[in-house]
């Protein structure tokens, strides 16, 4: 009899544990007063080690902002892009804020918030050059890294009389822009931010977007309360200009139109 009781108790406790694991994530965060956020280990300007070896970047600011809005402490966990989703699935992190883009494979295993930061490839140029769409490249010279997705897009879609200068790697493309050999480049917004960061006298301003893949906050599936709360915080941050401030600070460009 006691054996059955023990088994029954055991089964019950397993059931309770499972129940606990299914408890609302937002509730447990609020109870613990700590939110664990996975940020990139080495992907500037989203997340990388600063001079004091502490993580810094747009994603870190975003994590702290969300924690602050929730009124809890942020526990920052630096992860790589390969293990950021496993961290979430094994509950080592409550949120992944790690320049995470959305795709069908990821949507099958985790949920996404509203976008919080722009991530795109596009055309960037000096302030005074007037280019707003790909047709405006007619007669202009543009630099790009050979074989990069941006270079292929430009080669495919730019008007016939566009001169495309193809360079061996991103550094040569950056050097061509910084030295004034080209006034336009097709690249990612992170590369454009790096250019402006290192050479503020010749900022690379967003002209238009070619391929858009903004960053989302990721969390586990079936957490409607957490999702609603995070979306609410992001909507507020967007409305009061916080997201734009983060974009200006780390990506050296305001949020693109229509973000």
């Amino acid at each position: 009899m006691s054996f059955f009781r023990a088994v029954a108790a055991g089964l019950l406790s397993v059931g309770l544990l499972a129940g606990a694991a299914h408890a609302d994530a937002l509730d447990s965060i609020m109870k613990a007063k700590v939110i664990k956020v996975a940020v990139p280990q080495d992907f500037a300007p989203f997340g990388s080690a600063g001079a004091d070896l502490k993580p810094q970047g747009l994603d870190v600011d975003m994590a702290n902002y969300i924690a602050e809005q929730l009124g809890v402490k942020a526990e920052i966990i630096a992860v790589t892009s390969a293990n950021r989703i496993p961290y979430l699935q094994t509950h080592k992190a409550d949120l992944v804020i790690s320049s995470l883009g959305k795709n069908a494979e990821r949507e099958a295993v985790i949920d996404f918030s509203a976008p919080y930061a722009p991530f795109f490839s596009g055309v960037f140029g000096t302030k005074d050059i007037a280019v707003a769409k790909i047709a405006d490249l007619a007669g202009k010279t543009i630099g790009a890294t050979r074989g990069a997705i941006e270079e292929q897009e430009i080669t495919k879609d730019a008007p016939k009389d566009t001169t495309i200068k193809r360079f061996e790697d991103n550094n040569a493309t950056i050097a061509a822009f910084v030295s004034g050999q080209v006034d336009l480049i097709a690249t990612g917004n992170v590369v454009a931010a790096a250019i402006t960061e290192k050479n503020p006298s010749r900022p690379a301003v967003t002209k238009f977007i070619m391929k858009d893949s903004p960053c989302y906050v990721g969390f586990n599936k079936n957490e409607p309360a957490l999702k609603a709360k995070v979306d609410e915080i992001i909507a507020k941050a967007k409305a009061d200009g916080t997201l734009n401030k983060f974009s200006e600070k780390w990506l050296k460009n305001p949020l693109p139109a229509g973000f």
Partner: protein
């Protein structure tokens, strides 16, 4: 090994290769002519010029011969704009090639000049030739005949070295090869074919240089 060769993957790009080849040929031809002119002037200045000029040429030769070509090229293309001198990739490529060959040929031609016995020059002077005539008909004539093989080799080296200009997006043969490779990912086929084109170009260039040598440079 499951790699299947597919040279037909290059066919859609034959025009890119042809334009690249043309650029390489023109680049080599122009920089050879101008570079050797620079070398001749440099060597003459080095051997017969006033000390300040001779010293200046020496600095130029040492500077170029002791630094990598790609660094010289990057300095001209990426570096000089900081001083307000912005050159197109084609101009930068031509200048870098001329400057490079100019330095090497200065040294090669100077070696030829050094090998000429003093007596020949004195003989010319005693025949009432002007300094320029001595330089033209006695010194350089013999010097070129002596160093022509070395100079020919240097020209071929410069032609092959011109592949580096693809790094500043000058549209030469290697630039075309890199472009095609980034499109069809057929690295073996592309670089194999381009290597063959360079090889044929070298053989043709050597043949041409030998013809020119036999016709114009040989003495007696």
């Amino acid at each position: 090994m499951t790699y299947h060769l597919e040279f037909s993957a290059l066919l859609p790009y034959w025009q890119d290769l042809a334009w690249g080849l043309w650029f390489t040929i023109v680049l080599t031809a122009v920089s050879t002519v101008v570079g050797i002119a620079v070398g001749t002037l440099g060597a003459s200045a080095r051997s017969f010029g006033p000390p300040w000029l001779s010293g200046l040429v020496r600095v130029y030769v040492e500077l170029i011969r002791n630094t990598p070509f790609i660094v010289q090229l990057f300095f001209i293309f990426f570096g000089l704009p900081a001083l307000g001198l912005k050159l197109s990739e084609t101009t930068a490529a031509f200048i870098a090639m001329v400057v490079n060959l100019g330095a090497y040929s200065t040294e090669i031609i100077r070696a030829g000049i050094d090998a000429i016995p003093k007596g020949h020059i004195e003989a010319g002077v005693s025949l009432a030739m002007t300094r320029l005539e001595v330089l033209r008909y006695i010194v350089l004539r013999q010097a070129f005949a002596k160093i022509y093989p070395a100079l020919s080799s240097q020209i071929v080296i410069v032609m092959l070295g011109s592949a580096v200009v693809s790094q500043i997006s000058a549209p030469d043969l290697t630039y075309a090869a890199n472009f095609i490779q980034s499109r069809n990912f057929r690295a073996f086929e592309v670089y194999f074919v381009v290597a063959l084109i360079y090889l044929m170009l070298s053989i043709l260039l050597r043949y041409l240089l030998r013809l020119i040598g036999d016709r114009f440079v040989k003495v007696g």
